[in-house]
């Protein structure tokens, strides 16, 4: 049953990704060249909407959070490496499948590369888990925890900031 939920959720998400065109190489590179902020608009609209919804449900104890630990070594070094690969490929892991779905077949090479990359990482993991992945481990922390304030304060500020950012994007025609 879980698998059915998975595919249905994926279809809905893929449909919206295609309709907003964020799965395109040109749009992804446009973001990295600071010419086209479509991806930021999509991601931040998603984040703000889901953040409000999920934290309401969380306050009523209807959902549990699933946080990833903040390990600076892994997140910073891995994040930067990913960024370089992302610019070369022009798709991220999720959008590569979406791009394939709308006929952008160059995504196939990327998907092949990503499978190889996953294999290489699996080989390197025993070494990395003893080194990089032990550097700066702060555990599963959230911004409200670090600031010592209610999550609603952070959500309010974030929402205001995102709205202002969107207005700026539209003014600049990005």
């Amino acid at each position: 049953m879980m698998l059915v939920y998975g595919i249905v959720t994926g279809i809905l998400f893929g449909f919206l990704l295609q309709r907003s065109h964020v799965i395109r190489y040109d749009v992804q590179l446009g973001a990295l060249l600071l010419k086209d902020m479509t991806i930021m608009k999509f991601m931040l609209s998603h984040i703000v909407t889901a953040m409000i919804g999920v934290y309401v449900l969380y306050d009523f104890q209807l959902v549990q959070l699933s946080l990833k630990p903040t390990i600076l070594g892994g997140v910073v070094i891995g994040g930067l490496i990913f960024g370089v690969g992302w610019a070369l490929l022009g798709y991220c892991p999720g959008t590569s499948l979406g791009a394939l779905g709308e006929g952008r077949l160059d995504a196939l090479w990327g998907i092949g590369g990503m499978l190889v990359g996953a294999g290489l990482y699996a080989e390197a993991y025993p070494y990395l888990s003893k080194t990089v992945l032990t550097w700066g481990n702060y555990g599963k922390i959230t911004i409200p925890q670090v600031l010592g304030v209610s999550h609603w304060v952070v959500i309010f500020c974030m929402t205001v900031l995102v709205v202002l950012l969107f207005r700026w994007f539209e003014k600049k025609g990005l």
């Binding site: 998400f13 449900l57 891995g78 370089v84 690969g85 990327g110």
Partner: protein, 173 residues
């Protein structure tokens, strides 16, 4: 590059946010994509050397099985395909437009760079423990510190590499 035949991106973002809420509420599943590549590679390697895969720590951590996220990632391809066909947006293309303007028509050239980019991207994303979906969307919406640091690093790495690839002025794109 304006969005000619597409929907308003804010509307799509908000709607996808509701899909995310529904998934978290109904089945407790947060969006993510990159673990699926690990599981798939594990499944492929299993065909050739099952004993070795069974003893590798990373494949013990991320078992080579089909799970919710695996189906979610396949669903993205199906959903995008349905939308593209429905709205006459489906197009077979081996070389993206921006790429063609900068690097020419060669399919091989694009293939080599996309393949290498894929290797680098996946290695980095596993080290970071999440992709723009897992860290960016799911981490971001939970206000996770890791999500925002990851998102910043994704863009910093990407901005530098894109600038090197396309030149300072983005090659008049």
């Amino acid at each position: 590059m304006r969005n000619r035949n597409g929907w308003n991106v804010y509307v799509c973002g908000v709607l996808s946010g509701f899909v995310s809420i529904g998934s978290i509420w109904c089945v407790g599943k947060f969006f993510g994509a990159s673990t699926t590549f690990v599981r798939s590679t594990g499944m492929i390697e299993q065909i050739f050397s099952p004993d070795r895969v069974a003893s590798m720590p990373y494949f013990l951590k991320e078992m080579p099985v089909i799970d919710w996220q695996w189906m979610f990632v396949m669903g993205i391809a199906v959903g995008a395909c349905i939308a593209a066909v429905l709205y006459q947006d489906f197009k077979i293309q081996w070389v993206p437009e921006h790429w063609r303007e900068r690097f020419g028509l060669s399919v091989q050239k694009r293939a080599v760079v996309a393949f290498l980019g894929g290797i680098i991207a996946m290695f980095g994303v596993r080290l970071a423990d999440g992709c723009p979906s897992g860290h960016g969307l799911s981490g971001g919406l939970q206000l996770a510190v890791s999500g925002y640091i990851a998102l910043a690093c994704f863009f910093i790495g990407g901005l530098i590499a894109a600038r090197l690839l396309y030149g300072k002025r983005g090659n008049s794109l």
